[in-house]
Subunit: 138 residues, 2 copies
Amino acid sequence: MTNDERWFPSHLKELGEPECLELLAEHHVGRVAYCDDLGPVVLPVNYAVDQGTILIQTSPHSTLASRLRTAPASFQIDEFDEYTQTGWSVLVRGSAAYVDPTDLPADEDRPHTWAEGQRSLHIRITPHEISGRRLLPA
Amino acid sequence: MTNDERWFPSHLKELGEPECLELLAEHHVGRVAYCDDLGPVVLPVNYAVDQGTILIQTSPHSTLASRLRTAPASFQIDEFDEYTQTGWSVLVRGSAAYVDPTDLPADEDRPHTWAEGQRSLHIRITPHEISGRRLLPA
């Protein structure tokens, strides 16, 4: 993929994978994306990082559950400051799969979902590619 | 699509299209998503709302330009508060196409990109479906 010109400017910096992983570990809300017949779907979710993968939690009856049984999926986080017009973003491209309950980390290391409701299914996104960018002050 | 259980909880409210459009009009940074052979890609962009469509701006040589010549695309915005664990999100599903320069709005109504660099190409995402959700305090 030729990403060079995705953001063109001089004050844009590519992030290395270690910095991307640090940013992922520091945050708790991101966006999971998948493709259906009509194109891409992007949905906010709570998440946790588990051994270099992204763990999310959902109801087994949700659209997310039906779409992410075994599928290409991405996970994205970002943060922007409208005043300084700066920010950063991290994109994890990978594949999603259901998690066997015996493969889950300890309770405190699982995603903590803000929304109420039964979410007994865990889905793991295993990264194939992690990239990130930081937009510095002009 | 059965979205009912996308977020399951009692304190989650579906947003009507007028409120989604208001939120879109009030913001300047969002995420464009498309699908390539490896799955979904989600990238932050500056945008403007133009007659109910989403306008973004990019370099004609960018990956975004090559992917969004005529393609299904989505656009997403959201905002979250980690302290109150509340937030909202809006998802625009639609199709992307290049904009003929004669169809562009006046300068002040075009997207204002934070990043520097030549971005002579405008892309319009025309919505097929607009949905949104608000996560209220528990």
